[in-house]
């Protein structure tokens, strides 16, 4: 069974790449807006269907549409954020809970809307990348790397690096980090919290929608697909530390590796149990996530 270890590790890393794409922007938006957006899976689903239809209508590879999808959904997120901001900045009741309920309601509404608009069948997005794989047998390793999953990992790393650059090397990023640390103080220093929040939410929705296209190429798409990804996004972000962006890739890779190794070497039916057991143990030891840097 040990000969399967290289493949198990490879599969785990590739699966981790998928989880990075789902969770990284979700973590960013939590860090800035302090809202757990339960509609993350639905943004992924909308992006997936947009890619599906663009491919169907034009016949072009869905990966070519990623920039278009990002711009389109950035706009959607930018326009929706002020509504969420209004819910979160209320003075009566508990704005945090209201934010949760609001995004939860959005998720249910989006799911119903998708069911009506896209129908109830599962679909798949064809891509040239879905066809091939890299076989490492000539190198003496019994490892196969599906091209589309490798593209997924590259996409995950690219998004992570771009976000890192944006946050650490630009004035906009400085404003975002200031906002994440202390909203009022950032405001006093000249950061426009409303506009910056809208940009961040737009970036998050845009990245989530692009992720949908990727997932549609690797797995499948359907009007109800979002729920599963919301759970995993939430899981990764909690494990990484709420709002701690740098922890997301490590948490995602850990999750992917646990899942892969457990599926191969232990009882696959208990995979999710193992994943959640690890989450609970880590949170017991370090309640602020893997690196103790979450909110």
């Amino acid at each position: 069974m040990m000969e399967l270890l290289p493949q198990a590790l490879t599969d785990g890393i590739l699966l981790g790449g998928i989880y990075i794409t789902i969770a990284i922007a979700f973590s960013l938006t939590y860090g800035v807006m302090h809202v757990i957006d339960f509609a993350v899976g639905e943004w992924i689903m909308f992006g997936a269907f947009t890619g599906y239809y663009l491919n169907k209508w034009t016949g072009l590879d869905p990966f070519l549409f990623l920039p278009v999808i990002f711009v389109l959904y950035f706009g959607v997120g930018y326009l929706i954020q002020p509504v969420i901001h209004r819910v979160l900045s209320g003075t009566k009741g508990n704005p945090f809970l209201m934010g949760l309920v609001f995004t939860f309601g959005l998720a249910i509404m989006f799911r119903g809307l998708a069911l009506t608009a896209f129908g109830f069948y599962s679909n798949s997005i064809p891509s040239a990348f879905s066809e091939g794989s890299f076989d490492l047998e000539p190198l003496g390793l019994t490892v196969t790397i599906p091209t589309v999953r490798l593209v997924g990992l590259a996409y995950a790393l690219a998004i992570t690096l771009i976000l890192h650059y944006l946050l650490k090397k630009t004035n906009f990023g400085l404003g975002v980090r200031a906002l994440a640390q202390h909203k009022d103080a950032a405001g006093l220093m000249g950061v426009n919290s409303k506009r910056t929040g809208s940009y961040v939410y737009g970036i998050y929705v845009g990245i989530s929608a692009m992720t949908g296209v990727l997932l549609g190429c690797i797995l499948s798409i359907g009007a109800q697909m979002g729920n599963e990804y919301t759970i995993f996004a939430f899981f990764v972000v909690v494990l990484a530390g709420m709002g701690y962006l740098a922890g997301v890739p490590w948490a995602a890779l850990l999750l992917g590796l646990v899942q892969s190794i457990f599926m191969i070497y232990f009882n696959p039916s208990h995979t999710l149990l193992a994943v959640f057991a690890i989450l609970y143990i880590i949170l017991l030891i370090s309640p602020r996530g893997l690196f103790g840097k979450g909110v």
Binding site: A8, T142, S269
Partner: protein, 413 residues
């Protein structure tokens, strides 16, 4: 204080006592439909809805169900089980106590059916599920629950037998099932049939529903099984085929369950769906003859194509056949809308006695044994997708086309 405690106890007791279902006078049959119209199983739920709708549409187009010279139309009242057994049970309570339905057409999934069956037993309301296939439903011997699709342990063995008759005969098999009542039962029935056929089982795994199975399939690939058999639902079928293709492993035969007979599966996976085997009990080309509503399978498929732009699959057909079974039993006992408990009991007896030829084939419910109240009138079929069409490749008496075996490599398609 003591009085208050007694009052609470009385209140709790009142909640647990079944509210008597009173008959309502009306000139149409009010039929409750519980199915999964949202949630993970929304595809199957909507396919069952189509089956029930098509039956109701056809019955009403003919003026209704004729009872003693008078025609009574049917009206379907839907309740969403949300792909959740508890929500299904709550929906059944509502349909029975508030909507006061005459009888129920049951859920898509076995899990929800298992939650609804005790509720219909409690209120003594007959239910036929046109879809659920888990053997657990029938082993529980629910008096008021029937099913038109044979249980998977009745049908699953046929496909394994067909595969073992291919040349060169497969010797090894890996079996994977998703962790829900139906899919798990499918995997277990394949396992039992493979053991009986002396196929070497190199892997048997039950995986959490909806998960990415690539790591598991990578492990399976290293065992190089001749056959891979999978029990799951529509979305999982798509993911499964894509994962196998991504890791570059083509078994000699890939066997999945009936869900692959729906045109939507073939559309989703395209040429990769070709040569996949499946287990079913009905196709649009099945040789059936009937005097009720549709004369044969082809006529039903044409009606479905016209109504939904889809010829329908075995689940949809099973649901329409469930309506026909009720219709036949109602006519047999001359039951009119707004049935009382005594009439509903007679309806159960009539359902146990019916033996009717439908477009779906023979409907005859077992009255004892492990298949109690499941339809045992049908012959299971092994199908294979060939050139985008579903073809029956076994058993020998039903063959439409020779099986293509071994499967063509993914990369050379």
């Amino acid at each position: 204080m003591k009085f208050g405690f007694v009052r609470v106890l009385l209140l709790i007791a009142a909640l647990f006592v079944a509210i008597p279902v009173h008959a309502e006078q009306r000139n149409f049959f009010k039929i409750g439909v519980i199915t999964e119209l949202s949630g993970d199983l929304v595809t199957g739920g909507n396919i069952t809805k189509r089956g029930y709708d098509l039956w109701a549409q056809e019955v009403n187009a003919k003026g209704g169900i004729e009872i003693q010279g008078k025609k009574y139309p049917v009206k379907l009242v839907y309740a969403d089980a949300q792909s959740n057994p508890a929500a299904g049970a709550a929906a059944a309570e509502r349909l029975i106590t508030q909507e006061k339905v005459d009888f129920i057409l049951g859920p898509y999934s076995s899990g929800v059916t298992l939650a609804v069956a005790p509720v219909v037993d409690k209120y003594k309301i007959p239910m036929i599920t046109g879809s659920a296939e888990s053997p657990l439903i029938w082993k529980n011997k629910f008096k008021y629950t029937f099913g038109t699709i044979p249980p998977i342990n009745f049908t699953g063995a046929t496909s394994i037998k067909t595969l073992t008759e291919l040349k060169p005969a497969p010797k090894t098999i890996a079996i994977i099932g998703s962790n829900d009542a139906f899919s798990k039962a499918t995997a277990e029935s394949y396992k039992a049939a493979a053991e009986k056929a002396k196929l070497k089982i190199v892997k048997f795994s039950i995986v959490p529903s909806g998960q990415d199975m690539t790591p598991l399939l990578s492990a399976v690939r290293s065992m190089k099984p001749d056959v891979i058999a999978f029990g799951g639902h529509d979305e999982e079928h798509v993911k499964f085929v894509k994962a196998l293709k991504q890791i570059g492993y083509t078994p000699k035969a890939l066997l999945m369950h009936c869900g692959i007979t729906d045109k939507a599966f073939i559309d989703a996976v395209g040429k990769d769906g070709d040569q996949i085997f499946g287990t079913t009990c009905w196709t649009g080309t099945a040789k059936t003859k009937s005097k009720v509503l549709w004369p044969n399978a082809a006529a039903y498929a044409a009606a479905s194509q016209k109504a939904f732009n889809n010829p329908g699959d075995y689940t949809q057909g099973g649901c329409s056949a469930a309506g026909i079974a009720f219709q036949t039993a109602l006519q047999k006992i001359g039951a009119k809308p707004g049935m009382d408990e005594a009439t509903r009991t007679k309806l159960i007896q009539a359902l146990e006695q019916i033996d009717v030829q439908t477009f779906y084939g023979r409907v005859k419910f077992a009255t004892s044994g492990e298949f109690y109240h499941a339809n045992v009138g049908l012959d299971p079929l092994t199908i294979q997708i060939q050139g985008g069409h579903v073809k029956t490749v076994g058993p020998k008496a039903s063959v439409e086309a020779a099986a293509i075996y071994p499967m063509k490599e993914w990369k050379s398609r």
